[in-house]
Symmetry: C2
Subunit: 314 residues, 2 copies
């Protein structure tokens, strides 16, 4: 079993570097730092570094380390939560041995050892499961809390279709380490007042198809510029419309100007209808029920709204 | 152990009546029906009735039974999720033997047998735990789903302070019966478009104390009357403000006219500050972090907003 191989490699190296994907989310940070804390607890003699350019704004995911390439070369590199080598943030490929730990489809098994479990809702879930399988190694509150954060966010609080009985079981075992469950939920999901006020404004701009199965918002250039947010941050607020009974599909489009041309980008979501095939026709793609489109002309925008109206009514 | 006593009594009676509290929530319905389905599965020879006046609007909690008092008199009555005898919906006290099954503080042990576990986040959690403890009895998807609904709502999707590792463990075991987790979450938490539009309007009316630690909404009589909702339904939308980082306390007040006097009722919530002691001074009460006040004059309203401002700033 690859869990034993993982331990074998850990024992072999004095220096361990932990990488994750660019644009890190809480599962990337959580699995990176949870792994670091676990190694610190169980292998205190090892030098362990967490690497990557971007830092989280959140206090609960501390800053990354900065080290020389020479150290990386000596190291065992462990990459967490990155499906492809392209998305890895840092010079992981200089390392002596590479372990990939991930829960996405293994299209790019870039590791010398690949620990990939696609049924895991989060890399944090996979790591916790592996750690719990080792009877000889310890767990503590700090590790448990860090992994819980990632599991919580990748399942949107145990609500998404990737949430399994194993996700809930792992959450249960982690919470036994004295976790403050309501506080962890607040940390990961609460919004600032300014975010709240913006999202309320976005909600008020919802337009509906005739049968109310499609809902969409179009934010024009002025509204985008006055929001104090990046366009992609505005579009991520598409989740404001997640919990409306009538809607089958919902989207947020933002206007932009590129090369003197007015264009639109969009984030699309659906309950169960497959929408990424349509998105692919409009310079986009993603998951079946969560995807994006970009660089639409006004005409494209009208076409895609019509197409989505038809899809939503099926 | 009282679980064995429970089985002993079930075996003894041919007729079993299941009661719950008035103004039933999903935990009341879920535990009532989950228990019925479990009895139907494991004791198919018994007559089992679910009783209570109000019916749920939700398709997933079917209608109640209507039976004669004579049948109740012959029956074993099981009352779920009701802390006090006052709140029980129906003539349970005519029954031959009474079992109370609940997770609230046992201020009123009205049962001949009282199965009360206050550490349980939901009566559905307690029932599931009891059912899983019986190796000789079966569970199925229908029972598991019904209990999961109650557990989900009483913990607000595993977020409240009553959520424990046991809650998550029970959820994990229930979900093994092939539950559709995202669908169950949608069933219990999605809002209709009209509810969504109303809550967006309520959000836009948020007022803040100077340091932004108190947030409150006052809905005047016209707004209440035009909402198409009962005043208590408006106040239950106080949960719209649950997830704002800055707020320590948040409230919704609704205006009413009684005996030609303008008065206000309110729903108050806090993250961690104890607010029910203040509520008790204004004809109200409830839990430490979730309580209500009623029949406030305009002057009372100003006083309580000042008091809450002070409390929130501590």
């Amino acid at each position: 079993m690859y869990y034993n191989k993982f331990i074998e490699k850990i024992k072999k190296f004095d220096v361990i570097t932990i990488f994750r994907h660019i644009n890190p989310d809480a599962d990337a940070f959580g699995s990176q730092l949870g792994l670091k804390y676990w190694l610190n607890l169980n292998f205190p003699e090892k030098e362990v570094y967490v690497l990557g350019d971007e830092n989280s704004n959140d206090d609960f995911f501390p800053k990354m380390d900065v080290i020389s390439d020479v150290l990386i070369e000596q190291s065992l590199a462990i990459i967490v939560d990155s499906a492809t080598s392209e998305r890895i943030d840092g010079n992981y490929n200089k390392a002596s041995y590479i372990i990939k730990i991930d829960h996405h489809v293994d299209v790019d098994p870039y590791g010398d050892l690949n620990i990939v479990e696609v049924k895991s809702a989060a890399t944090c879930q996979l790591l916790a499961k592996m750690f719990f399988s080792f009877e000889e190694y310890k767990m503590n509150k700090n590790i448990a809390e860090t992994l819980y954060r990632g599991l919580l966010t990748d399942t949107l609080a145990f609500k998404t279709s990737n949430t399994t009985s194993e996700s809930l079981l792992i959450a249960s075992k982690l919470s036994e380490y004295g976790l403050d469950i309501p506080q962890l939920n607040r940390d990961m999901f609460d919004k600032s007042l300014s975010e709240f006020i913006f999202s309320s404004k976005l909600r008020s701009k919802l337009q509906l198809s005739k049968d109310k199965k499609l809902g969409y918002v179009i934010m024009n250039l002025d509204e985008v510029n006055n929001s104090g947010l990046e366009a992609h941050q505005i579009r991520s607020n598409v989740s404001e419309f997640n919990a409306i009974k009538e809607l089958e599909i919902w989207c947020v489009f933002t206007q932009k100007i590129e090369n003197n041309q007015i264009l639109y980008d969009g984030s699309l979501r659906s309950k169960t209808i497959v929408i990424n095939e349509l998105a692919q026709k409009f310079n986009g793609g993603g998951h079946k029920n969560a995807c994006g489109v970009k660089d639409l002309t006004k005409e494209d925008l009208n076409i895609i709204i019509n197409e989505l109206t038809l899809l939503s009514s099926k």
